[in-house]
Structure formats: C-alpha cells, structure tokens
C-alpha cells in the first residue's frame, strides 16, 4: 500500500498534473467567457481539433512553431466566429450548431489531413514544429517544486497566465462588465445601449481564441503531431468543468485541476495492471458525482 501511495508522491506526478490540465484549463476558461455572456459554446471539442490541425500544417509548411501557433489561434477564432454568426444572426440554436460543428470538425480534419499528407491517421509524415519548453529561472533550482513547475511547454505558462488575464478582464474591464450584463439580463443590457449580439459575438470569439491555444498545445506541445480525434473528449470535460464551476473563474480553475488530477491518477493506475477501461472513466465519474452533488445541495438549500 505504501508503495502504491508513493506512486503519487513524486515530482513527476505533479508535473504530469500540470501537463494534463493545460488543455482542459484553456477550454474551460473559454467556456466561462461564453457562458458569462449567456451563450454556451459546446463546440470546444471541434474548435480545438481544427486548431490543432491548423497549427501542425502551418508550422510544417512555414518551418516556424510560432507561426503555427498564430494559425491555430486564428482558426480557433474563425471557427467560433462562424458558429456565432450562424447562431446569433441566422437563428440556429447555438447548442445545435455546436453539435453539428463538432461532428463536422471530426471528419473535416481527417479530410484536410488526407489532402495534405495522403494519410488519415496522423501527421507523422509532416515535419511540424513543437513549441519550446521553458526553464523557469530560480524556481528550477528549488528541489521538488522546480521539478514540478519548471521545464514545461510555453503554453502551460500561458494557460496559468490566462487565469489572471481572464479574471481581470471579466471583473475589472468594461468589456467584462458588458459580458456579464448581457449574460445576466439581455433585455436590461440592451436597454442601456449595449449591443447584445455584438458582445455575445465577441465572447464566442474569445472562447475560440482559448480553444485555439488548447488545440495548439495538443498538437505542438502535448504531442508533436496531429492525430485523428486527438482532443479525445477534453472539450466535453471542459464544458463539465465550467458547469461545475458555475461559470466562475476560480471554481472552474479548481475543477479543471481536479480533472487533471483524476486523469493523471488514471494514467498512473493504467500502468499498474488495473483494467484500463474502467480506470479511464474515473474523471467522468468524478464530474458526474460533482455535478449531481452540487445540484442536490442547491436543491436542498432552496427547499
């Protein structure tokens, strides 16, 4: 039993948590922004997937990882802008548009990949670039903490930074105030001269930008290539995380990390000869219990 616990008390485990949480963090923060504006972006999965392919293709053809990252971000924003246009201006329900776009992205990325590489499974034949890792000065020399925090892909630090940026944006800026006003009461917001659709459009684009970061991390950090359906449910987990965090920045960040921890535990347990089919359900069971538990508590408080 002691040796079992020891598996989780290593710096490598802490390092893994940060790495696993990063894409979920990006996507769940993106969801927080759009949820706050009263529009739920459930196309996170597809947005990240499309962005991760864009990053790989552009970095391979430009030879520069950062140009690849820019492309991933641009595609993330355009993908969300498209969904926003369809739902805000043409009248498709946004959840419906999200479902359709997720399915679309899953096949469309394979189609584009095939057009460029002749392969349908992965982009291994392309010399795509990886975003650099960063050693944090001073911190890297601290034992344990240095091993956990230092030496990550640059986007891991961007994800941590974006927590602060988004918190400030939502709580201290005019845009943040407009987003919250629109989400809480659209007609009241409109009556004081806020352009509701425009604010919602911007929020969706911002959530697409974050999904772009998440996608770029997946194919240019977490892995060094694009593989078919590589987001593998992280977009859905992010939706669950922001739902559990009631669309507030800090609780959502905490839930995202809980997820990361459960996933990292799952990854370790799988190496211990446990039935991997059951272990992989661990993070989903955790969210399920979390969501239900929260709802029951709220129900009891109200009644």
């Amino acid at each position: 039993m002691n040796s079992f616990i020891a598996l989780f008390l290593t710096p490598a485990f802490g390092y893994a948590i940060l790495r696993v949480t990063t894409p979920i963090l990006f996507a769940s923060l993106g969801n927080v922004i759009s949820d706050k504006a009263g529009v739920s972006n459930i196309a996170m999965e597809g947005t990240m997937l499309t962005a991760s392919l864009a990053g790989v293709l552009v970095s391979a053809y430009s030879g520069n990882a950062f140009i690849g990252l820019l492309a991933a971000l641009l595609v993330g924003v355009l993908f969300s802008a498209f969904m926003a246009y369809i739902s805000l201006y043409l009248g498709t329900k946004i959840i419906m548009a999200g479902i359709a776009l997720n399915l679309f992205a899953s096949s469309f990325t394979v189609y584009v990949l095939y057009m460029f590489t002749g392969q349908k499974g992965n982009s291994a034949s392309l010399a795509s670039k990886q975003l650099p890792t960063i050693d944090l000065p001073i911190i890297k020399n601290i034992p344990v903490l240095g091993e956990i925090l230092s030496g990550h892909n640059v986007l891991v630090y961007v994800a941590l930074l974006s927590i602060v940026v988004i918190y400030v944006m939502l709580n201290k800026t005019k845009l943040g105030a407009h987003i919250k006003a629109v989400g809480e009461n659209p007609s009241a917001a409109a009556s004081v001269g806020i352009n509701v659709r425009r604010v919602q459009f911007i929020s969706l684009c911002l959530s697409g930008l974050l999904a772009g970061f998440g996608g770029a991390f997946m194919s240019m950090g977490y892995l060094s290539m694009f593989t078919r359906d590589m987001i593998a449910g992280r977009g859905w987990i992010a939706i669950a995380a922001s739902a559990m965090g009631r669309s507030m920045v800090i609780p959502t960040v905490i839930t995202s990390f809980l997820f990361g921890i459960f996933s990292a535990v799952g990854n370790v347990l799988q190496l211990q000869n446990m039935p991997s089919e059951l272990i992989t359900t661990l993070p989903y069971v955790a969210v399920f219990i979390g969501i239900v538990g929260y709802s029951i508590r709220k129900y009891k408080k109200e009644n």
Binding site: G91, I95, A97, A100, L103, Y111, W236, A243, L278, K298
Partner: protein, 352 residues
Amino acid sequence: MKKLSNKAKNEIIQIATAIVIALLITLVVLFLTSDEPIYAFNKLLTAPLTNMRYFGNVLELMVPLAFAGISASLLFRSGLFNMGGEGIFYISGIVATVLATKHLGNSMVHSTIVILGASIFGGLIACISGFFKAKYNANELVTSLMLNNILFGVGFYILKSKLKDMSVTGVASEQYLETAKLQVLIPKTNVTTGFILLIVVTIIIWLIYKKTKLGYTIKMTGINKEFAKYSGMSFFALTMIVHFMSGFIAGMGSSVHLMSMYDRFTWSALPGYGFDGCLVAMLGKNHPIGAFVAAFGLSYLRTGSDIMARNTDVPVEMIAIVEMTLVLLITADFVVKYLKRKKAIEGGSTNE
C-alpha cells in the same frame, strides 16, 4: 389554415434552398480538390440507385440513424438537451449481446426478448440523467455526456472480461444465435424485419405527438418550461417519461442494428450513432417522420460518398462538409427572415 400552409411553404423553400446550396458547395469542393469532379459528383448522387445491393445499404444504415434521431428528437422537442444516445447505444448493445448469445427460445420469441431487453435497459439508463434533471435540475447535457464515456468504459470492460470469444483474434463477443437475429426482408441485403419495426415506432411517436395529451405537453414544454405545471402533468413526470421513451428507442435502435447487421459484438469505441441521431433530429425538425426522411437522406449521402471514395480520389470524409451545410441551413430560419423582411419592405414598414 392559411397561416399553417404558409409556414409549411416556408419550410419547403428553406429545405430546398439548403439542398441546392449544399450541392453547389459540394461541386465547388470537388472541383478544387479532385481530378475527376464530375465523375465523383455523379457517383455521390446516383450510385446508391444503380443496384439493389447499394440501395439495400442505404436502408440498412438508415435504421440505426432513424432510431437514434427519433430518440434525440423526443428530448429536443421537450427542450431537454440530452446527448446520451451514444452511451445508450453502446451499453444496450452489450445487453443485447448477452441475451443473443444464450438459448432463450425459438426465432420470434428470442429476437423479441433481445430487443425488448435492450430497449428497457436503454430506457432505464436514460432515466439516470432524467431523474437528476427532473428532481434536482442537474444539467442533463453534462451528465449525459459524462455517462457516455462511463457507459462505454463499463461496457467495454464487460465485453473484454466476460463476453470475449477467446477463439477469435481481436475483441469480439461470441457469435449471436440464429434465433436471435432478425429475419431478412430483401434477399442479399441486411434489410430485416427491424425496418418494419422502425416504421411502426415512427408512426406511434407521430400519433403520440398528434393525438395525445402527452404529445401536446411535450411540445408546449419545449416552448415554455413552465407549461408542464399547468397542463396537469408535473415537470418531473414529463421529464422521466420522455427520458425513458428516448432511451427505450435508442436501445431498440442499437439491438435492431446489431441483430440485422452483425454476427458478433465488435464495437471497441462509441459507435457514433448517438451524435448522428442529434443531426438527424435537427434535420428532421424534431419530428418522427422528419427524422425518418432525414435518416434516409443522410444514409443515402453516406452510402453515396462511400461508393465515391472507393472509385475516385475523394476521401469519404468529404461528406462532412455537405452534412454540416445541410444541418446549419435547415436549422437556421433565414428564409423566414428574408421573406418577412421582403414583405416589410413591400409594405412600406421599416420594422423587421
């Protein structure tokens, strides 16, 4: 009466416009990426009609799509965004497999037990999300998505540890008994009595919508959640009934599909029918007959694109572009808006 026919007319214009635009986009994509665009386009659209086997493929594939679509449309119509069909298809398939590999009676009896067992199980599983939604208002979209992955994990574990046939390579259950399988209707295809069952279910759901208080309540609750209270049926009861029906139909779709097309259970991933069902429901405007027609259309397109991919340089995934265009254009109300605006301009009014 006149208003109703106007609405129907608008919908027809909208759907026709959507199809024309989708076909144009397909042509453009083919011209940009293929060496033989016209040949590919022709294959895509006409190949399924060229022989009975291909047309049989269309009908075979439309069965699970239509069941999944009707299942999803029940929920969407009541304003519930539950996407759990995916997991239910998997776990009900496992239940059907358990039942279909045991001697439980002669042909008719055995296949009925298999389908009923899988359907009832599917209904009960759907009630998990349903219950937490109905009683505690837990977000059904999130719980059902989580359940999809949980049910897959549990189902795949059962398949690997309990049902696996050790004499074959790969993960597959033991062979289904002949008595469990559905009877073939069209020779040399896998179109079975399951197709008749699909027609029956479509008609029953249509009648429920049209003739019963339940159907009326479903529709009104979808428009305004508060309505269930005033209709004499509690939101709790309505949510549970709709979830059970939806899961029941998804479980039926899964077992019918397996007993028509498969000899063993071999799914090592979620089959995708649950999410496809959401597309079908959207295309069919949350109506059972709409879903039936949409499933046919989607199945036709997919069969066509499959044949096209085998004969040309265009990969089968191209069809996703057509599907998305269709879904987004059919669910948008741009035609109605355009007509309204036109009328407003003609009438000299500036209001939209």
